[in-house]
């Protein structure tokens, strides 16, 4: 298996942009039910920022490339999820700064760094019903599968399943953080919009890497 270079990362960011753009209305609806209904706008802004980011010529350093994508996202979309996604990209990039190629193990480390970074930034813990409930199990699963020596497509498949299961597991719970936290009870049974966005983003990344890897 060839290592993953900046070209692959670039197209994965482009896929994330397309996926976010395609899911704008869906995310707005979810955020209207338990937040302030702007997540579609945020998704659109993040999509636009990433779209123009990937149009520029990338450096060879994958780490810097990913971290700067985070800066671009923050500049465009500074709502909660925009900031958290920016943090995720910045931390993931920092983890592999200087590298020109990534192994599956690097990807798992990047996911774990993103998880840790988002938890530090947002102060949410697993179970609070936020995007962490997607990121955290996904990162743990990816790290474990890579350590086990699983094939890349198996790693990807398990990671994605963990992400979806994480989202579904917190759906019956009550939101504890952010705007949805003010609403309390009424959030029980509703899909957390950040979780849904997390699944959309991870699917867009992993679907592609499955093919590439």
């Amino acid at each position: 298996m060839a290592g993953i270079g900046v070209a692959e990362v670039r197209s994965s960011l482009a896929r994330v942009a397309r996926a976010l753009a395609a899911n704008k209305d869906h995310l707005t609806e979810l955020d209207q039910a338990m937040g302030d209904g702007d997540l579609g706008i945020t998704a659109g802004k993040m999509a636009a920022a990433l779209e123009s980011y990937v149009e520029q010529e990338p450096p060879e350093d994958v780490g810097t490339y990913v971290a700067q994508a985070g800066m671009a996202v923050n500049r465009a979309a500074s709502s909660s999820l925009g900031t958290l996604l920016a943090t995720a990209l910045m931390r993931a990039g920092k983890e592999v700064r200087g590298q020109h190629e990534l192994t599956p193990s690097d990807l798992a480390r990047m996911l774990a760094a993103a998880d840790t970074g988002v938890q530090e930034r947002g102060k949410a813990k697993p179970g609070d019903k936020t995007i962490i409930d997607v990121l955290h199990p996904a990162a743990e699963t990816a790290v474990a599968a890579v350590a086990e020596g699983a094939a890349p497509e198996v790693v990807a498949e398990r990671t994605l399943r963990a992400a979806r299961d994480g989202r579904d597991a917190v759906t019956p719970l009550r939101s504890k953080i952010g705007r949805a936290g003010w609403i309390g009870e009424r959030t029980e049974g509703l899909v957390d919009p950040g979780c849904e966005a997390g699944v959309i983003i991870l699917s867009a990344i992993l679907d592609g890497f499955e093919e590439t890897a």
Binding site: S78, T83, L84, R179
Partner: protein, 332 residues
């Protein structure tokens, strides 16, 4: 939508452009229109104060950038946090060598972005302290006071910490004043109508004519309960009850009070509320000092009002009385 605007997407941009055009002697920008600073920034040898948050609350936030108050403000889209990068731009431009204090409202997006900005500033050797405003008693019970949102009470923190910085206080001293001010500050709001975020194009929530919601947040966050509109005296008394229970002042204490319109509610009605509030507080053995009645923290055209109480000691009183001047707030 009963609003005067061009493209909803350029609402904030054009507002900022107009503002800088109107007040070039007092305000400037740090690279980006969303990074507003005092025209004379950086003031060398003075602790710099920065705030930030979403647009739609004028004079909050940038209306308090001026002498004796704030040095800079990062401005987000309507009801949206500005970006960490915009905060960093403000931080760099206002830093006068004695560190920067961030004072802003406790909202998820703002906290995350200011924390990011503080980390970045730290990498540039700018010392940053942060004080969060959490004055809205309706947003969480006392046991969870750390979860409370920041509303009009932040104006007192800007004013008093700004005065302390103006008098030459160190970063720690200025931060301590901001914390002490907020420790003694409580606010609560009542909403009678919604407002419309331009990009959304429709009201952020609905509230029937003849209804009200005590405790509603400045972005329409749910309050206590929706009920039929009560008289000014009843509304005022219920709001004060909630504040006094939480602040628990002792008879003989001196308070300052802010009667703040959320936007559409006219001055006339604030003074009707003030009359009752002063009567009740004085009956409770409290004295009032330098009341503020007007529009200090709004939600665009929302109808409603908030009341803020701040318990004063001699130190805070002197800082409150210090002069200040911005395009929105002048005190001599």
């Amino acid at each position: 939508m009963r609003k005067i605007l061009n493209d909803p997407n350029s609402y904030v941009h054009e507002m900022l452009a107009g503002l800088l055009k109107a007040h070039p002697d007092q305000l400037g920008m740090a690279g980006d229109l969303h990074a507003i600073v005092r025209a004379d920034a950086p003031v060398q040898g003075k602790v710099a104060l920065a705030t930030g948050g979403g647009s739609g609350h004028l004079p909050v936030f940038l209306g308090y950038v001026g002498k004796g108050m704030l040095d800079g403000c990062a401005v987000g889209d309507v009801f949206q946090s500005p970006s960490a990068e915009q905060m960093l731009e403000v931080t760099r431009r206002i830093h006068g060598g004695k560190g920067v204090l961030y004072v802003y409202g406790n909202y998820g997006g703002d906290v995350m972005n200011f924390d990011m900005a503080a980390e970045m500033a730290d990498m540039e050797d700018i010392r940053v302290e942060t004080v969060l405003v959490k004055d809205d008693v309706a947003s969480a019970p006392p046991a969870e006071a750390d979860r409370r949102r920041g509303v009009a009470g932040m104006v007192y923190a800007f004013k008093l910490a700004g005065a302390k910085a103006d008098q030459g206080g160190s970063l720690d001293e200025v931060a301590a004043i901001a914390r002490k001010t907020l420790e003694h500050t409580r606010s609560i709001g009542v909403a009678l109508s919604p407002c419309t975020v331009p990009q959304a194009g429709k009201p952020t929530f609905t509230i029937g004519e003849g209804e009200m919601e005590i405790g509603m947040g400045i972005h329409g966050e749910p309050g206590m309960k929706r009920e039929s509109l009560q008289s000014a005296d009843v509304i005022t008394e219920r709001m004060l009850d909630a504040l006094l229970e939480d602040l628990a002042p002792a008879s003989g204490d001196t308070l300052t009070i802010m009667l703040n319109s959320l936007g559409a509610t006219p001055h006339e009605e604030l003074y009707i509320m003030y009359r009752k509030a002063a009567e009740l507080l004085e009956a409770g053995g409290l004295s009032l000092h330098r009341p503020y009645v007007g529009r200090f923290a709004t939600s665009m055209e929302m109808a409603g009002a908030s009341i803020t109480l701040l318990r004063l000691d001699d130190e805070l009183k002197a800082l409150l009385d210090a002069p200040a001047a911005s395009p929105f707030f002048v005190q001599t």
